[in-house]
Symmetry: C2
Subunit: 213 residues, 2 copies
């Protein structure tokens, strides 16, 4: 299967891997300019193919965007996992639980600062939340939401959170970091330096940890 990634004019009539090529091109556009920048015709151009060819693989631009978004979500999950891998479960479960929650929050925010376009794309349009769809997940097989749930479970199991407060805590924790990320990316805080945003993020995660229980 020839990975006809870019311009090199193919001699074969078939492309071989068009769908993937389109998603890749779209991903690059999303990275550079967010969801609004993922243009169908441009993707076909980069793949060296006629605009209509895209319709053999996607029902329309919206569906292409959907695929690109899934890819972006996967990157977010990977970033969180990387952050979580930095600390292993030691003999203190409470400390581990706290570190996990911290890693989720900061991994999320860190990715948002590093890859604004992808981040904005990942959350631009409603994806289902409970989906074992492998496209949304990273190596661990969990999407960002599930990674957060995992961290909160650790909080509960280690006694930092009682059952009542645990319920729906995902949404509360998620709201905070997501809100800061968007305020910093496309909201009134977009001129705030990244380091300051991340510093605010630290305070935010602490606030969540204290406020949840």
């Amino acid at each position: 299967m020839k990975k006809n990634t870019s311009l090199e004019k193919r001699k074969t009539f078939r492309h071989g891997d068009l769908r993937n090529a389109l998603v890749t091109a779209g991903l690059e556009m999303a990275r550079a300019g967010g969801p609004n920048a993922v243009i169908l015709r441009e993707a076909t151009r980069q793949a060296g193919v006629a605009p209509n060819a895209a319709y053999r693989h996607f029902a329309g631009q919206a569906e292409l965007l959907d695929a690109v978004r899934a890819a972006c979500l996967s990157r977010v999950a990977a970033a969180i996992e990387d952050e979580m891998k930095k600390n292993k479960a030691g003999r203190n479960p409470q400390a581990f639980a706290r570190k996990s929650l911290h890693a989720v929050g900061m991994g999320y925010l860190g990715f948002a600062m590093r890859e604004p376009g992808m981040f904005r794309t990942a959350f631009s349009v409603p994806p289902p939340v409970h989906s074992p769809d492998p496209a949304h997940t990273a190596s661990m097989g969990l999407n960002p939401f599930q990674l957060l749930s995992l961290a909160l479970d650790r909080m509960q199991e280690s006694g930092l959170l009682n059952r009542k407060d645990r319920k729906g805590a995902e949404y509360l924790a998620w709201s905070t970091v997501h809100g800061l990320a968007l305020l910093a990316l496309e909201g009134p805080l977009h001129k705030m330096p990244r380091e300051m945003v991340l510093a605010l993020g630290e305070r935010l995660v602490v606030m969540v940890e204290r406020g949840l229980s």
Copy 2:
């Protein structure tokens, strides 16, 4: 000044209030479909005017959208003010401070649920945060950010918040409600019923109140 609001074919060559008509039309489009739905040509159509006429009042679509966003922000501020007016300063400053913070958060969220399109438009593109621009404000002359600051000041003055924790608290509090609003509007939580979102909002505000100090 003839408020040539809509289709009724004017007989005068001049429109009389085109700029306003365009913003109004744009506002309605934003209300119905968010920022991406505010189309310049459509606005001119509704105003009964040639597309190019818009360029006498706005440098381009982006500038029209800017005006529409300012109008939306003003609505957000108005919603918060309405919520704040529901409780007056009694003899217990701490209770008043708490109620103020609560009102800001829930007024914000409530508007987001009631007018998703306008809300999304209001925060779609970076507006400056510290701006006494009257277009961004409601009757009280404060924008949402300033209203939040006011509520937090009351928290500090009544002894619920020390000076150190007060610093930057706006951003922390704002992040939480903004995040929930966006998750519920165009994020993974978009299918969650409004009442449940608002219930989560209540918990969120409580969490902020507890977590800030």
